[in-house]
Symmetry: C2
Subunit: 135 residues, 2 copies
């Protein structure tokens, strides 16, 4: 299945399915060989390593698309996470307790593949939930 | 000028212009009487008070649209801020020093006016910049 640049919503949903299925070998279908991640240049291999590290820290990581806005070469997604990170996340010892938080992420596609990612994670909510662990 | 629901990009840009022009009396043209802000119900008056408080804390607040994705009744915006908050922001004594940070915000419109806002601010960057003040 080749990525069809005329239907970025389908491409993006297939990308998220690949992440949730841990099919990292398929990433090249959805991501360019060179991209920018929050303004920093990254190779596909580096981007893959970042995503794999997320799964190492959060074994039950699942990307839920709560909102999706697609226009032209742009995709904006509001992602929801309900997960149990192992060990330390953002300097906080989570140790398998439950965290529920959002990510707001903007993508630019080139020829049907991601070439730019701008991500914000709701760190405040993670910190607040983590603080409640020790209350 | 009435908001035209068929052209949400123009409506959104006019809304941002109103904010930058501090024309809070015009907010009702762009925002429904009842809305949800990050999941919490708010009246237009409460939403206006929130926006006015932002300007009180950040007198030179200016909303720059760095990226905009519009489809159906949805608008997703990546906003950039380059400002000098007075006093304390997020518990940090900024005291007029410069902060540069982003907001990723998703809106849902009803009949051409905002009815739902989901906002994430790059608090990590604000904290990092604030920490550098005292280094």
């Amino acid at each position: 299945m080749a990525a069809d640049p005329s239907d970025l919503e389908s491409v993006y949903r297939a990308y998220v399915d690949a992440l949730n299925g841990r099919r990292f070998d398929d990433l090249g279908r959805f991501v360019q060989d060179r991209l920018a991640y929050n303004g920093d240049p990254r190779s596909l291999a580096q981007y893959r390593a970042l995503l794999e590290e997320d799964v190492r820290v959060v074994p039950d990581l699942r990307y839920e698309i709560d909102d999706l806005v697609v226009a032209g070469d742009r995709v904006a997604a509001r992602l929801g996470f309900d997960c149990h990170p192992s060990g330390v996340l953002l300097g906080v010892p989570v140790d398998g307790r439950r965290l529920v938080f959002a990510e707001h992420v903007f993508y630019r596609f080139d020829a049907g593949r991601i070439v730019d990612v701008r991500s914000l994670i709701d760190v405040e909510t993670i910190r607040r939930q983590s603080a409640s662990f020790t209350e």
